[in-house]
């Protein structure tokens, strides 16, 4: 039984490591969220040792399966590889001063209606039914909140909860 469990763990780790092959020891990675948590151990519920801002460049010091030990100046810790990007993210900033894309990663992001130009496009093309469908779909999608996604990842043992 123990062997089976170990084998499954190894296979999972190898699979995730294959997917994260672009991250290598000594290379760089980039934060892509408003806040990226670094942990004391390569586990999702381990103690938080640092919090990094958006678009920080971090040095990869160690790779352990899907987890990376990274450093940004004097801050160092473990982060799930899926929480970092291989390329620097867009720095386009919105009216609030936050990067446009990163600001949407917060739980408070409101539903975005179809852009006026797209509504106008739908009217010009006689596609108002499609417009109504997309507004309905937008509401369905917004109903799935960031908290729902985190709960789903944890319940399904996905992402950093694997």
């Amino acid at each position: 039984m123990k062997t089976s469990v170990l084998l499954i763990c190894t296979v999972t780790a190898l699979s995730a490591a294959t997917a994260l092959a672009a991250f290598t020891r000594g290379g760089n990675a980039y934060t892509k969220r408003v806040e990226t948590v670094l942990r004391a151990e390569p586990r999702s519920l381990s103690e938080t040792v640092a919090r990094l801002g958006y678009a920080r460049t971090v040095r990869i010091e160690e790779v352990r399966g899907p987890w990376l030990r990274v450093r940004d100046g004097d801050q160092s810790g473990w982060v799930f590889g899926g929480n970092l990007a291989e390329e620097p993210p867009s720095e386009t900033r919105g009216l609030d001063g936050l990067p446009l894309e990163a600001s949407k990663t917060t739980a408070t992001a409101a539903a975005r209606p179809l852009t006026p130009a797209a509504k106008d496009y739908a009217e010009r093309k006689g596609a108002t039914n499609a417009e109504a469908d997309l507004e309905w779909l937008g509401a369905q999608s917004t109903a799935v909140t960031p908290e729902d996604v985190q709960a789903f990842l944890e319940a399904e043992k996905k992402g950093e909860f694997q």
């Binding site: 600001s103 106008d120 093309k125 937008g138 369905q140 999608s141 799935v144 043992k157």
Partner: protein
């Protein structure tokens, strides 16, 4: 034409209307409503024209707000051509949970990701810039396994990759379209320029639609989306072999004209190019 100029023109037109009855001419509420409508129309026209103007310049990079304008319009066409969306909250919630879980670990977690099942029995999936991912009911049923979400995740991850890699926007950025319309726009007066740019905007949307529905992305772009999508699905925790299984399942149905991604490269070649370990 600026918002102010358009609003002023409509305001003047409202005041100068000779045949309008006196009580209507001095109906302040109505006048305000007219001005508000004019401002809204001008704002819409300006938004589309600004986006089109940026496209016309051969943009170094289309920003996220322009991407939403283009992507929303492409999404209108996708939904319009596939019988609308399936109005089943449970199905749409499942697709959005899995899709958003994948998107969370993508290189663009912050855009407005929206996932939907189209009411079409064809077997295909589409993406639109800005975060719209669609799967037809035909494909959804084909990948709807009872015991896991791996196959569905593999399909969604492939479409997510098209968006994170900005494949559709690159068609515009490469300047593969609209040179004639661009010249026309530059020569025109302000008012005609707005018309021309709106026309150009429509053509931009139609070019992406043509790629999605008729020409398809070039094979290298599809292979890249296969690899990037597979990588994302595995990072998120879905089975490495899921995309191969989906493609094989589709291949086995190849006698049925609805069975394959008609706008994608041959399935055998896509399968051959996947990593050996899944």
């Amino acid at each position: 034409m600026t918002t102010t100029r358009i609003a002023t023109t409509v305001l003047l037109a409202a005041v100068v209307l000779g045949g309008t009855p006196l009580h209507a001419q001095f109906n302040l509420g109505k006048l305000r409503e007219t001005v508000d409508q004019a401002k809204a129309a001008a704002a819409k026209a300006k938004e589309a024209a600004d986006s089109a103007a940026k496209i016309a310049k051969g943009v170094a990079g289309i920003g996220v707000e322009e991407e939403y304008v283009i992507g929303d319009s492409v999404a209108v066409e996708v939904v319009s051509r596939h019988g609308g969306v399936v109005r089943d909250e449970a199905i749409q919630r499942r697709v959005n949970l899995i899709g958003k879980a994948l998107a969370y670990y993508s290189s663009r977690p912050g855009i407005d990701w929206r996932f939907g099942v189209l009411a079409s029995d064809s077997v295909n999936a589409f993406s639109a810039p800005g975060g719209f991912v669609f799967i037809t009911r035909g494909l959804y049923e084909l990948v709807d396994d009872n015991d896991n979400d791996d196959a569905l995740a593999a399909v969604l991850a492939h479409e997510i990759a098209h968006i994170t890699e900005r494949h559709a926007l690159k068609i515009i950025e490469r300047g593969e379209l609209l040179s004639g319309a661009g010249d026309f726009a530059q020569r025109s007066s302000d008012l005609r320029r707005t018309d021309a740019e709106l026309r150009q905007f429509d053509l931009s949307v139609e070019e992406i639609i043509s790629t999605l529905f008729e020409k398809g992305f070039d094979p290298q772009t599809e292979y890249a989306a296969d690899l990037k999508g597979r990588e994302l699905a595995v990072t998120t925790g879905y089975a490495p072999g899921a995309l191969r299984k989906v493609l094989t399942r589709l291949q086995q149905r190849s006698g049925d004209p609805k069975a394959v991604f008609s706008t994608h490269p041959p399935l055998a070649e896509r399968i051959r190019r996947l990593p050996a370990d899944g």
